[in-house]
Symmetry: C2
DNA sequence: CGGGATCCCGTCAGATACTG
DNA sequence: CAGTATCTGACGGGATCCCG
């Protein structure tokens, strides 16, 4: 049960002994969005074997990174305060990995939690601060997200709602966020379909969520 | 040879497919200090099997993270520009892991490169900017480092040199950096031995390198 | 001697089935 | 729904060997 050790005394090796095992940081990524049940984690991490998920949850719990909370009938996993301090790590890792993303491979899926964290990664609070509050309803593949930007605050939740701009796109929304595609070209090429609201608001979206490749 | 995939399309999973395998981030940590030869990496990562080191180097090269550079007779590995962009990730991970460090376990060693990166992690550029240039000669366990702070710049190299303060300590230098121990108590308890220079300069060291637990 | 490649073995991950 | 049990295959660990 004890995580495998690297035989070194240092910050990075200590961190990797706690969260360096396969799947661990993806579990933490999803828990950064909010507390999740076992089945929700398994659903978001489609290809994780259930025994591995169970093992990781125990290890992360033993390491003080997550907590197992019984809520009346159901059991929920959530990050401890110390686990929540991994947010800068996940955001930095996500920003770096974002630049390496190419076209989605066969059988690569988008999940609500991974998309939510990618949006948080690309979020530009300084840009957003000077823009009026805006709500977006985005359908990305099969994932529906309701995105509210207000000042330098960002809130992303699953589902829809009354939005200033509603749009649908696929995995290549990445090309809009990276700046590879202008908002205009994204619409004319069909990468983004505007379902409601003014087209110009996609400009605002693209400047609010931007991560150069 | 292709890295194992997570079946997800997202920034974090993409990153982990490139640098998420065991030992990979420790190799990158050491290469952030400077280009290294195969044997130097093997020396700094004492417990890595040579086949794993060889496999990781190939994978990281294929992923565009490192480069294999023949220098006349010898071969040197170095980070690509894209690989160097992992520095914020390593620093964030190191800062997080630093807080989880307890006493060194049996057979846990300190290496020059891991110590160098830990110092970079703990470095407070804003504090340093308002202090006069200072050079420290530190012997940490068997590791000798020459640390120069000038304005908000930090330079750490192996070996010694003419320093304003020379001191020796063990792994529990961590307790000074975390603030668990004041500089005064660190000296009186013998955690830090001042070998040359004025004792008061250890105050400056402790404020320049600080990471609360 | 530096820079690996090869071999064997143990452990972990992956897939599926099963249970309280 | 929240895991446990079991089996198989792949990867990591350790030692040894090889080649320029």
């Amino acid at each position: 049960m004890a995580a495998r050790d690297y035989g070194q005394y240092g910050g990075v090796s200590s961190a990797l002994e706690l969260v360096g095992e396969r799947w661990a940081l993806l579990i933490i990524r999803d828990l950064l969005v909010g507390p999740r049940r076992y089945g929700e984690l398994a659903g978001g991490l489609a290809r994780i074997p259930s025994n591995i998920l169970a093992a990781r949850l125990k290890e992360l719990q033993a390491g003080g990174v997550i907590r197992r909370v019984p809520h009346s009938r159901v059991i929920v996993y959530e990050l401890t305060p110390y686990g929540r301090e991994l947010e800068p790590v996940i955001l930095a890792l996500g920003a770096w990995g974002f630049k390496a993303m190419g076209e989605p491979r066969e059988a690569q899926i988008i999940t609500p939690d991974s998309m939510t964290m990618d949006l948080r990664t690309a979020f530009q609070p300084l840009v957003a601060a000077s823009l009026p509050p805006t709500a977006y309803a985005a359908r990305l593949g099969t994932v529906e997200l309701f995105i509210r930007v207000e000042g330098s605050d960002l809130d992303v939740v699953r589902g829809g709602g009354p939005a200033d701009l509603a749009f649908a796109a696929g995995a290549d929304i990445r090309r809009l966020i990276s700046g590879e595609l202008t908002p205009d070209r994204a619409i004319t090429t069909g990468v983004v379909q505007v379902l409601g609201g003014r087209n110009e608001l996609l400009d605002r979206f693209a400047t609010t969520f931007h991560l150069a490749a």
